[in-house]
Chain length 161, copies 2
């Protein structure tokens, strides 16, 4: 159990030189949080920083299945994110690779676990990179700000009940 359990606050830590760990509690049970991660109708409602528009181009949430999202910024620029699911166990765990088209061949493995805490859900996400340089590059790209905006949008979606 972690000391961090306040809804709306992300706890980002660096367990070793090639990992990022993020813990955050959402005010909804695991089934609803898990659905937000895997339902192609719900993902565009929260995925990505504010101001971006996400289109789900592929989503096959099962072992070996592909996913691909296109994210359009307010200036019209587009970025494609994609990868494969390594494990999808509802409503407990999702492990998937994460790539973006700007850096082909740079791949992280993101694993989210969904833990029931009363009526809430603690989501722990670990991102593993091949090298320390890749991990540090992700942090320096401003991922924490984008992540927090994304999670706030998820809070808002879940609050709609």
């Amino acid at each position: 159990m972690s000391e961090q359990s306040t809804v709306g606050v992300s706890n980002l830590t660096l367990p070793n030189e090639r990992e990022i760990r993020v813990e955050r509690v959402f005010d909804a049970p695991p089934e609803r949080v898990f659905a937000a991660y895997t339902d192609p109708e719900l993902i565009p409602q929260w995925w990505g920083p504010r101001g971006t528009t996400t289109t789900v181009e592929e989503l096959e949430p099962k072992t070996g299945g592909r996913w691909q999202f296109r994210s359009r910024g307010e200036d019209g620029s587009e970025i494609v994110f994609r990868g494969y699911f390594r494990e999808v166990t509802a409503p407990e765990r999702i492990s998937q690779t994460f790539e973006w088209d700007g850096m082909p061949g740079y791949v992280s493995v993101d694993t989210a676990s969904f833990e029931r805490v009363g009526e809430q859900t603690r989501v722990v996400t670990t991102s593993i990179f091949h090298t320390a340089e890749e991990r540090d590059g992700m942090i320096e790209s401003g991922m924490e700000k984008g992540m927090n905006e994304t999670y706030e949008r998820l809070d808002e979606l879940l609050a709609q009940g």
Copy 2:
């Protein structure tokens, strides 16, 4: 410098829990060894264990370029290997991701360096995996036998002059 410098002998070591390092000296200068790794006409002449037939389906040896090879076994079974090049610096260094279609989302980064040693070339290849389990799985799959057959075929190609 390593103590290992005999042509025809691979030296496989495990520097840490998620890496495999292989060192081998080839009896040709770096330019010829590098060409064998990047020329679509030469790759089918040595790539893969004995008895397999390799078809180069994509090969764009530059940063961000894709590669995809189809390997057909003597029993007619086919395996597709693919990835992206992260760095290609002739005749010194090639870094690329490595995946096979049987396990989508399991990606290693293979980096080969080509060092001139007189008229010969020392090739040091490191394979980095996301986890120790993936590294161990690769070793247990029989990769060392396949690798040695592959390198023997490369020795034979280079001996053709």
